[in-house]
Amino acid sequence: MKVHPIAYSVAALALLLLFNAFFTDGFFAIELRDGRFYGSLVDVLNRAAPVMLLSLGMTLVIATRGVDLSVGAVMAIAGAVAAVLANGDPGKALGWLQVSHSVPLVVLCALGVATLAGVFNGVLVGRFGVQPIVATLILMVAGRGVAQLVTEGQIVLFENPSLELLANGSVAAVPTPVVIVALAFVTVAVLVRKTALGLFIEAVGSNAKAARLAGVASAGVVIAVYAVSGLMAGVAGVIACANISAADSGTTGLYLELDAILAVAVGGTSLAGGRFSLAGSLVGAVLMQALTTTILTRGVSPHATLVAKALIIVAVILLQSPALRASLRAPKEQAA
C-alpha cells in the first residue's frame, strides 16, 4: 500500500494534539482579546512561523538535492540590516541610507540583501558546481560576521511601531507572522505548481544530468531555489528582529537551519531530492513546535526538546532509508 508521504507527519501531529486534549488543560482554548486570538494553538502557529518560512525555501532547495545551511546566518544578516535601517542613526554602518521613515523600504532593503545572499549560494552551487553543504557552509561561517559588521558588533535597538506590527500585530485577529506564512506558502505554491518551475526543480533533483540534456536550465533553477531560500530567511529574520525590536546578530536564527531541515524531512520530502511537499514541510514545522510546547507545558526540562529532536531525526531518516526498507521487506519476499 502506498501511503502519501505527508500522512506520517499529519498522523504524528494528530497524536500529539490528542495527547494534549487529554493531559493539558485548556490546550484547545482560544479566546478573542483586544481583536486578536490567544491560546496554546495560536501560540504554536505563531512560534513556528520563522521555521515554517525557512522550511518553504528549504523544501525547494532539498528538492534539487541540495541543502542550505546558511539560512540561520542569513536571518541574522536580514535582521541586522532591518534594525540598523529602522534605527536610522546616520553615524552607524548603512547610516547614509536614510529610510527609517518608510517601513516598506526598510523591509525591502533587508529582503534584498537576504535574496542576494541566496543568489551567492545558488551561483556557487549551480554555476561552479560546489557541493551544497560546502557552498552554504561559507555563509554559515561568515554570515554572522557580516551581520555583526552591519550592527558593529552591538545589539541594535530601534523604536518603530509599524515595523514591530510585523511580529506582534494581527490581521483579522490572526497574528501577523501566521498571515505572512500563509501568504508566502500560497505564493511559492502557485509559483511552483501553476508554472513549470516545480517540474524543473523535481527534474533537477531526480537527475541533474538528464534534466540538463532534456533542456532544463539547471543552473538557473538552482540559483532560483537558493534565492527563494535566502528571501524566506530574510522574511524570518525581519520578523525575528521586529519581535524583540532589536537585532542580536549572535543569536538570531541560531541552529534554525537545522530545525528547517528537520521540518522538511519530517514533512515527507526525501532528502535525496526529487518529489517535494510544501504543505508537508509546514506540517513538519508545526509538529516540531507543538512538541516543544508540549514538553514545556509538561514541565520537563526544555533541553529534553533537543534530545527528542535528535531521536525524531534518526527515526524519520531511518523510515526514509531504502536500505532499511529493503532489509525489512526481504524476509517477507522470501517467504512468499
Binding site: F128, A135, I138, L149, G153, L271, I317
Partner: protein
Amino acid sequence: MTVRIARQNVPALATLAVLVVLYVAAGLTFDGFFSLRVLVNFFGDNAFLGIVAVGVTFVILTGGIDLSVGAVVGCTTICSAVLIERQGFHPLAAFGAMLLAGTLLGTAHGVLIHRFNLQPFLVTLAGLFLARGVGLWVSTESVQADHPFFKTLSASKLPLGDGVFLPFGALMFLVVFAVGVYIASSTRFGRTVYAIGGSEQSAHLMGLDVARTKVAVYALSGFCSALGGVALVVYTSAGNAINGTGLELDAIAAVVIGGTLLTGGYGSVVGTLFGLLILSVIQTAIIFEGSLSSWWAKIVTGVLLLAFILLQRALQPRQ
C-alpha cells in the same frame, strides 16, 4: 633541476604559502608577534580545536562529515566537571568514561551511516542535538572543577627556554597530531580511508573492509571530540554545556583550508595543522590589532574558505 608538484599537493602547498605570508605579514605589522610565546600560544589556545580537527580530517577524507563534534566537546566538558565535582570521580575515571561515551556516539553515527546508507550530515546533526541536549540537561551553568590532579597536569609542561613552556594541552594536541599523521600515511586503515574517499565502490571491489573502516572513522572522530573536551576541561578547569558552539564549523574550515577535499580521497592531516595555524594567526593578529572585533575572524575565515573551495574546484578534473 625542475621541481614537479603533484596536482593533489597543490592545495596543501597553497595553504602553507598562505600561512607563511600571513605569519610574516602579521609579524612585520605587530611588535612582538614573532616571539616564541606567541608561537606556543598558537598550539596551546587552540589545542582542543586541533585535536577535534584531526578526527574530522579522517571523516572528511572518506567523503563524510561530522557536525556533532562541537556539541560533544561541550557535553564532555560539563559531564566530566559534574562527575569530578559532584560525584567525586577521579578526573582520570571521569575522562575515561567520557572518552568511551564519545567513541560510542561516534560508532553509532558510523553504524547508522554505513548500515542504512544515511546522509552523514543528518545523522551527525542528530548527534549534535543529542549531545547538546544531554549537556544542557546535566547543567545549564558553568561548573568549576578543582582537583589536585589538574595541578599535576598543568605542571607537566615542556620547557622551551626563555621561560616559555609548551603547555599540557599543546603536548596532547601534538601527540594526537603525530598519531594522526602516522595512521593516515602508514597504516592499512589510513590507506583504506583514502580508498573509500576516492571511490567507495572501488574500495569495496578491491576487497577492502569498507564497513569497518567507515564506522571506525566516525568512532575516531567521536573519540577525538571527547578528547578535545578533556583538553578544554584541563585548560579551563571548568565545564560548560555551551562550550564548543560552532566548533564544528571551525574544525571543518581548518580541514578544508588545509587542502583536504570535501568530496574525500585527497588531503592530509599535516594540511589540517596548517589550516589550524592559519586560523590561529588570524585570531592572534586580530587580538594584536586591538581595535578590530573578534567577528572579523569569522569573515576572514569565510573568505579563505571560499577561496580554497574555488581553488579545489579549479584543480579538480571535470567529470
